[in-house]
């Protein structure tokens, strides 16, 4: 059973009277208040992933330090709290790096591969009071909480009175919360965290970043303006992920940065003809450089993220025998990461982002090239072409086709996917979702096929590098051989699956869903 907890926020004009006097006056003769020790100073750090996974799930995570043992408190949407003692933590941290406990267990499911880091910090003075009934039994606690936000900006929050029931005394606690709320002229709300208030006081809001492409376009807007909005959004996303990539907070910063680059490149390639002439060529080259800069580190991240599963799937070799391979991957990753950081700190990168922003914001407001082309017309034309290309190339693939044909098809599918994402706001969400789902099945199959092939080639390369290193036992190379064999099997599995996946994508039902989508642009 959850403890009953309600919060009453004192209005600003109640500041003249001490909060405990306000509470005492509100409770009258039905309850008495007793002090429960001296006020304590509590430091809070609210934590979330960069893409606000906890906030989106209705949860808040706090690291609370003060006179009591430091603890992590995870509050769910329904007010249920999980706590675990946790001192000497450093941020950012992946859930798996936290000490074992119920908060870590829940957090692993919520944050996944993203690290949590402080999104706000505050210092609170908390005075605990016991609420006694006529038997002088404690039936509830009132915590008077005076909070000063320190980060992202300094601000003072209104005093909060947190009423918590002692087990079995919920009715009394409800009565206490009601009396306090009546006296304060406020409502007793659920005992959520004051994170949103802290952010608002500092002029920020939660969920101000998402890895999803969330640009609102209107069908009738000029094509150039639509593309400019999309490209500016992607540039924002790219730049937002640079600091996290440089600090190596978690692997998703680099992933999101790469996605922003790939979407930009696809938009330029497939729709850049509506922009002033020369832009596509000039920036296309630079974004290709940026994409290539990020590839080696990302490839190694993918290896390292899947390492545990790969090691666990070994049959003949023991997982421990792969340890030298793991060490090699980590060393390679560290070297590639240094190159990546140098690139992101280079004048070339700064020039690229600055000039790109200047060009996009400076685009003339007119209709641009291609005269009266609207956003909806541009989207229909480019998505239609990309769709036809996927069908054409897919139909040409036979069981004897070389792997390159499947790789090319994968690129075409990605282009179609990016176009669908870029222009998503022009379509009915439901119809859009169904078409993306059809495409995703095919993309997953093609991705599996190519990724496994690339990994097999890489593992051979790694093995030959490791042969030259001292102290690498033959068992490690044997285990890597088994790994390569398993990757080959997985690739073959994907190849076997391809025909069925493509048949489904090219089926009349899927075609129909595509036509429904394209027919519903004008909103």
């Amino acid at each position: 059973m959850l403890p009953y907890a309600r919060v009453v926020v004192l209005p600003a004009d109640a500041a003249g009277q001490p909060a405990d006097e306000t509470a005492r006056g509100a409770l009258g003769s039905r309850f008495t208040l007793a002090s429960a020790g001296r006020p304590r100073t509590v430091r809070r750090a609210w934590l979330d992933t960069f893409d606000w996974r906890l906030h989106r799930a209705g949860c808040t995570l706090e690291h609370v330090t003060g006179p009591r043992p430091a603890e992590l408190v995870l509050t769910g949407r329904d007010g249920a709290q999980l706590t675990q003692q946790a001192s000497r933590l450093s941020w950012p941290a992946l859930a798996g790096e936290l000490p074992a406990g119920p908060v870590r267990d829940r957090l692993e499911a919520l944050s996944g591969i993203r690290a949590v880091q402080p999104v706000a910090r505050a210092v609170s003075t908390v005075q605990d009071l016991r609420v006694l009934n006529t038997d002088a039994k404690t039936v509830a606690w009132i915590s008077l909480d005076h909070t000063a936000v320190r980060q992202p900006a300094a601000a003072q929050l209104p005093t909060r009175l947190l009423v918590t029931a002692v087990r079995g005394y919920q009715a009394e606690a409800q009565q206490v919360a009601r009396l306090l709320a009546d006296a304060a002229g406020a409502a007793a709300g659920p005992a959520g965290s004051p994170l949103d208030a802290a952010l608002a006081a500092a002029g920020r809001r939660a969920e101000d970043y998402s890895s999803k492409l969330d640009v609102h376009l209107s069908p009738g807007m000029p094509a150039q303006a639509a593309l400019r909005d999309v490209l500016l959004y992607l540039l924002d996303a790219l730049e937002a992920n640079v600091p996290g990539t440089i600090r190596d907070v978690d692997t998703e910063f680099l992933h999101d940065l790469r996605v922003a680059v790939r979407r930009t490149r696809s938009a330029l390639k497939l729709a850049g003809d509506v922009l002033p002439s020369g832009l596509r060529e000039r920036f296309g080259t630079e974004f290709k450089w940026l994409g290539d800069l990020t590839t080696p580190t990302r490839d190694l991240d993918v290896y390292l993220l899947g390492y545990q599963d790969m090691a666990a799937a070994l049959i003949s070799a023991k997982p421990a025998e792969l340890a030298p391979f793991h060490a090699h991957l980590r060393a390679q990753r560290a070297a590639e990461y240094r190159k990546l950081v140098r690139g992101l700190r280079s004048a070339r990168f700064t020039r690229l982002t600055c000039e790109w922003r200047a060009v996009l914001t400076g685009l003339p407001p007119g209709r641009g090239r291609r005269g009266g082309y609207s956003a909806a017309e541009l989207a229909a034309d480019r998505i239609g072409r990309a769709h036809r290309r996927v069908l054409r190339q897919g139909q040409a693939i036979t069981p004897d086709s070389p792997p390159e044909r499947l790789h090319d098809l994968r690129k075409r599918c990605k282009e179609l996917r990016y176009l669908l994402e870029i222009f998503a706001s022009l379509y009915s969400p439901r119809a859009h979702q169904r078409v993306v789902k059809d495409l995703k099945g095919l993309q997953d199959c093609l991705g599996e096929f190519q990724d496994r092939q690339v990994q097999q080639e890489e593992i051979r390369e790694f093995a030959s590098q490791m042969m030259g290193e001292e102290g690498v036992p033959p068992t490690a190379l044997l285990a890597m051989g088994e790994l390569a064999g398993q990757l080959g099997l997985a690739q073959q599995g994907a190849r076997d699956e391809f025909a069925g996946q493509f048949r489904e994508f090219a089926s009349p039902a899927s075609e129909h869903r595509f036509r429904v989508l394209m027919g519903g642009t004008s909103r």
Binding site: D135, A136, K137, V166, R167, G168, Y169
Partner: protein, 247 residues
Amino acid sequence: MKILATYNIKGGVGKTATAVNLSYLAAQDGLRVLLWDLDPQAAASFLFRIRPRVKGGGRALIRGSREIDASIKGTDFERLDLLPADFTYRNLDLVLGATKKPTRRLARLLAPLGADYDVIFLDCPPGISLLSESVLYAADSLLVPLIPTTLSVRTLDQLTEFIGGLDGHRPDVLAFFSMIDRRKRLHLEIASQLPEERADVAATIIPSLSLIERMSVERAPVGAFAPRSRAAQSYRELWTEVRARAL
């Protein structure tokens, strides 16, 4: 989860004072503790300032028509909860008698609480009854306060004999002397001699002290209102011994 019952066939030997003080000390030690006041006289409930009332009475609890969970009350002390007494507990034998396998009933009712509590104390009324048989079946250990008379030692023998005759589960017995008057030679003799002779008698003794009686005025465990007193120290020593032997 361990279940410890304070039990004696005789009344007025310090069962409730033991249950209240040891459950308080167990919670202070960081364990999650529940004390079930099974005595309709409701002394343990009174000492924790909790009104002796359970919705639906003992019948609803024993029959399982009302969740035990919903009747539990938090005490004024962290990690220590109480399942209050109710005047209807005087009829628990009758209620138990109407259930299937009555002696196993308490154990079945308490089993689901294992996720919430590390220790459950049962404060039992005196006498031998169907309820006490059910307690004996549920408890991992019996804490038996003895007053230092020849007669009470005989009662311990009767109790161990009775437990020896039980089918199935038999709780461990840990007796200890309570209400020792240090001015009486007989008390001191018996209290020092018996622990040497019998493994089921603890070395710790609880003296007869006015502070222990004062619990009913303060309505709190001695450790809460006189933490540095001899009474509090005695219970701490007893808890240390019980913890080592029974947990």
